[in-house]
């Protein structure tokens, strides 16, 4: 009887020791830092206004692939990237791809003046509370986030992209 209980007890004790010690020796998988950390998760939706004061929301973009670019007028790489975003917007408009520029923290007047100076035609939203910049964990500006038709974050990029990089990123999402 004794030996029939000793070995199961030892095995049980070992299993218990592993179970109890597990949280301290097995570390949780780290979420990716920066804007890429939200990949695979639904994009947060904030009710904003555009540079002309109209209410706007990502909800209206369900069913389209969305290229969301966070920018500010004081940021030289944002200025350099804008014409390529405009070209992408024009080239892909008929293929269900929408480009949205989200100004981080500035006034609508400044955002509109900046967009007008560069001949930008795609929608410019104004995120006064810098909410998208915060929830996407932007490491700097510009930050570009690509959402699928269900509003899920597919990819995110820190820093400016060339037109070819934008096209490649959009093509990769389109074939999914």
């Amino acid at each position: 009887m004794h030996r029939y209980i000793v070995w199961p007890a030892v095995a049980l004790a070992l299993a218990l020791a592993i179970y109890v010690a597990e949280p301290y020796v097995v570390t949780q998988r780290a979420a990716a830092g920066g804007p890429g950390g939200l990949a695979g998760q639904p994009a947060p939706i904030f009710d904003l206004r555009d540079d002309r004061g109209r209410s706007v929301s990502l909800r209206a973009y369900r069913g389209s692939l969305v290229v969301m670019n966070l920018w500010a007028s004081w940021c030289p790489p944002c200025r350099a990237e804008m014409p390529d975003l405009q070209r992408l917007s024009q080239a892909e408009a008929g293929r269900g791809i929408k480009v949205v520029g989200v100004n981080e923290g500035e006034s609508p007047q400044r955002a509109r003046a900046f967009a007008d100076s560069l001949g930008i035609r795609f929608p410019i939203w104004v995120d006064g509370g810098q909410q998208y910049g915060r929830t996407y964990n932007a490491l700097g500006l510009p930050t570009t986030v690509i959402l699928d038709r269900e509003g899920v974050v597919i990819r995110a990029f820190d820093g400016p992209l060339t037109l070819d990089e934008m096209r490649a990123a959009v093509a990769a999402v389109r074939v999914r």
Partner: protein, 305 residues
């Protein structure tokens, strides 16, 4: 028999107390863990001695007591030796902070209703998200508690009234206008929380020092409203050289002019998460129940014989 049951109860009660009154430094002390380990070994050795010349029911009760006490002791010692000390996890609204051994704490953006409680969420692999709001929550071998602390929500405008982007190159979230005020500085004998942020469009670096209502009432003069916290702004150029007329006090969320900027600092409450390790609650509960059941079984057996 009395020694066996006494040591088993001491071990079990000790670990139960460790679970109910968590976070005491003594639990991580060497003497405590050596004592707990020694007592658990005594229980097991005594259990083996008691095993002989017993009925089957008594043996089962002895096994329950010995195993339960050893399991509880193991949970207690593991917590004492391996678990980290208490930690305060401070996150900015919108930030996701990874906590070793635990998972990722997601700090939400504050809603428009500032009086609504902020609920921080713990995300872990293979577990449903755990919301940490007004009451403490248990996650495996940890207790998580939301503790309110003061943060400063800043708003910056140029002299024409245009809003300007606020960045925190040294903060947890680059594009956050919420200052967590984690650094401290001594001014006039008072140890005050401070933080800094950049206004890239204006090429300014701004330092913000937080005065509690009591400190503001005692030390500051002029615009400080009684009973209100205040924020002192000091504006430097982008090379962090002080500018003339660049220090101003914002009390009760009022906008002030300094260094060619309009600055407003609203002091609000936002939770940090206190992480306290405890012995594994499942193991402690099962261990305590086994000890209790075993003690009762032996008592009934003794009375009937």
């Amino acid at each position: 028999m009395i020694w066996f049951l006494s040591t088993a109860l001491i071990v079990t009660v000790g670990v139960v107390v460790e679970t109910w009154l968590p976070g005491r430094p003594a639990y991580h002390a060497g003497w405590y863990n050596i004592a707990l380990t020694a007592l658990a070994i005594v229980v097991v050795v005594n259990g083996r001695k008691q095993w002989k010349a017993r009925t089957r029911t008594s043996r089962l009760a002895i096994f329950a007591v010995a195993f339960g006490a050893a399991a509880a002791g193991l949970a207690g010692v593991t917590n004492g030796l391996f678990a980290p000390d208490n930690r305060d996890v401070v996150g900015a609204p919108g930030e996701r902070v990874r906590v070793e051994e635990l998972g990722t704490l997601s700090f939400p953006l504050a809603g428009e209703d500032r009086t609504a409680p902020v609920v921080v969420t713990l995300e872990r692999a293979l577990h449903a998200p755990l919301e940490i709001g007004a009451r403490a929550r248990t996650a495996g071998s940890f207790i998580l508690r939301a503790v309110p602390r003061d943060v400063v929500d800043v708003e910056v405008r140029d002299l024409l009234g245009n809003a300007l982007t606020v960045t925190q190159p040294n903060g947890g979230v680059f594009l956050s206008p919420v200052l967590l005020m984690q650094a401290r500085q001594t001014i006039d004998g008072m140890n005050l929380p401070f933080d800094s942020f950049n206004v890239p469009a204006a090429r300014r670096v701004v330092k913000a020092i937080l005065f509690s209502p009591a400190e503001a009432a005692v030390v500051l003069h002029g615009p400080s409203a009684p009973g209100q916290a205040a924020v002192l702004f000091a504006v430097d150029d982008e090379s962090e050289r002080p500018l003339p007329h660049a220090i101003a006090l914002s009390a009760a969320g009022a906008a002030v002019h300094a260094g060619d900027l309009w600055l407003r600092g609203e002091v609000t409450s936002y939770p940090m998460i206190e992480v306290i390790s405890i012995p594994n609650t499942v193991v402690v509960t099962i261990g305590a129940l086994l000890v209790l059941g075993g003690v009762l079984g032996l008592g009934v057996r003794r009375r009937s014989s």
